[in-house]
Amino acid sequence: MKRRQGLVAFFFLLPGIGLLIIFLLVPSIVVFYFSFTKYSVIEAPKWIGFLNFKELLLEDSIFKIATFNTAYYTLGTVPLTIVIGLILAVIVNAKIKFRTFFRVAFYLPVVTSIIAVSVIWMWLYNPTYGLLNYFLQKLSLPTQDWLFDVKLVMPSIILMSVWQRVGYIMILYLAGLQNIPDQLYGAAKIDGANKLNSFWYITLPLLKPITLFVFIITVIGAFQVFSQIYVMTGGGPASATTTIVHQLYVNAFRYFSMGYASAITVLLFLIIFSLSVLSFKFFGGRES
């Protein structure tokens, strides 16, 4: 019973597609236009060509720091999150007691709001009453200023962010692990492989597609880091934790330099978009 249902389809799709066009597609194009203008919201946008990009890439020293910090955060979080996530996945995939409990426990930080997580860790990192300093003291180590120390602040943010995200990576790997047939391990065992061997030569290679996917989404996520920075440090101390998105926010909504902030957006967009194309290709491939 194949018949054209164009008109019906139009009404079914109107709300969804309409909203997507208005609130996603159009803004994502308009931002390119704004990036070539000087725009303070009060006055109309004024075309200035590539000036924003020139300033951003050549003159803005804070943006340079923000880019460095974002790279630092990315290099700090991505490998740690993936490796720990994989280890957790292997652990909760084994036939252990209370398996579901552990899965739920490790996933719990993922569903907790990043703001709540930030506030909780600010308390743990508190220099005077924080538990982390208490543990250091117990171990007879010097206590730290954590979020107030220029050198230590980024590692502190990284540690907290890894804690929040590993559960997510764990679940993705868990799905991959469950797809590996048990016979493979059985065969390897007969051939005399120990557990580490089978992990290295069977598990890891078979998880490669997932690792690629996980890698790309983790990198994309890292480039978008904002909320914990905003709440925990406000980009400080001394710009030590300001990031690309934080600069975007500050320029747009504190200085109201919408054109300049749009140029930041465009740069970020290009980075993330190219990474997304990669992951989309992969995801599309996995679906078929």
Binding site: A9, F12, P15, L24, P27, T112, I220, V231, I272, F283
Partner: protein, 276 residues
Amino acid sequence: MLLAIVAITMLFPFFWVVSTSLKFDAEIFSWPPVWIPSSLTLQQYVTCLQTANFTLYLFNSAFVTIMRTVFTVAVASLAGYAFARLHFRGRDLLFLAVLATLMIPFQAVLIPLFLLVKWIPLAGGNDLFGRGGIGWIDSYWGLIVPGVANAFDIFLFRQFFITVPQELEDAARIDGASDFGIFWRIMLPLSAAPTVVVIIFTFQSCWNEFLWPLVVIQSSKMRTVQLGLAQFAQQRLVDWGPLMAGAVVASLPVILIFLIMQRHFIQAVSTTGIKA
């Protein structure tokens, strides 16, 4: 043994926030720290909910999240159904275009979206051309509407509706059902599985949303609970008791839903891989 250590490390921050939120100030600020409160008190919660206005913030968050979820399910199920079961020209191409929007990061539209919401015609003192007022800035509409449609939810519904046997549709058509009738009376009642997933994800992402509320909300009475918590954390850095209570109430709804529905949650994340 190793597992126990890992689990304790992972869960420890949760234990500590709950423990702190149930203590009197004297034990919160004691050194060495008191692990388990010697006497329990809800005082921190009372301060948080009343003095710090979290009751209002919770209401705002609940209202916005429920509205967003309802709209999302409606919009996504309709679109997903059209892509799965209706025949029209350019369907697959259009669906691909919808999927492609998944690659647009939210930050990329933040600035234009803010301006767009400010220019919504005939809202917030605006004229027909969106000038003169603030549009949907600082309003529930501004919080709810821009996030309603998203490709992921449409995708989920489409994937489900594709699996419904054609015979069901044919039988209903012979009985004289309209296209909408088939959707409403036959298909939607069958689609509990994708609906649950969409509700869970929308609830989670909307409740935990921060950047958009931060940008669109200006007055304190419109704050969502995440926004209220963030502001509270920045202004009152010494009130650790009420702050911890705030962290608990701001995360509890999603955590409860997660604990109740954890099977759905984990299954959905592992099969779809995105959006968490």
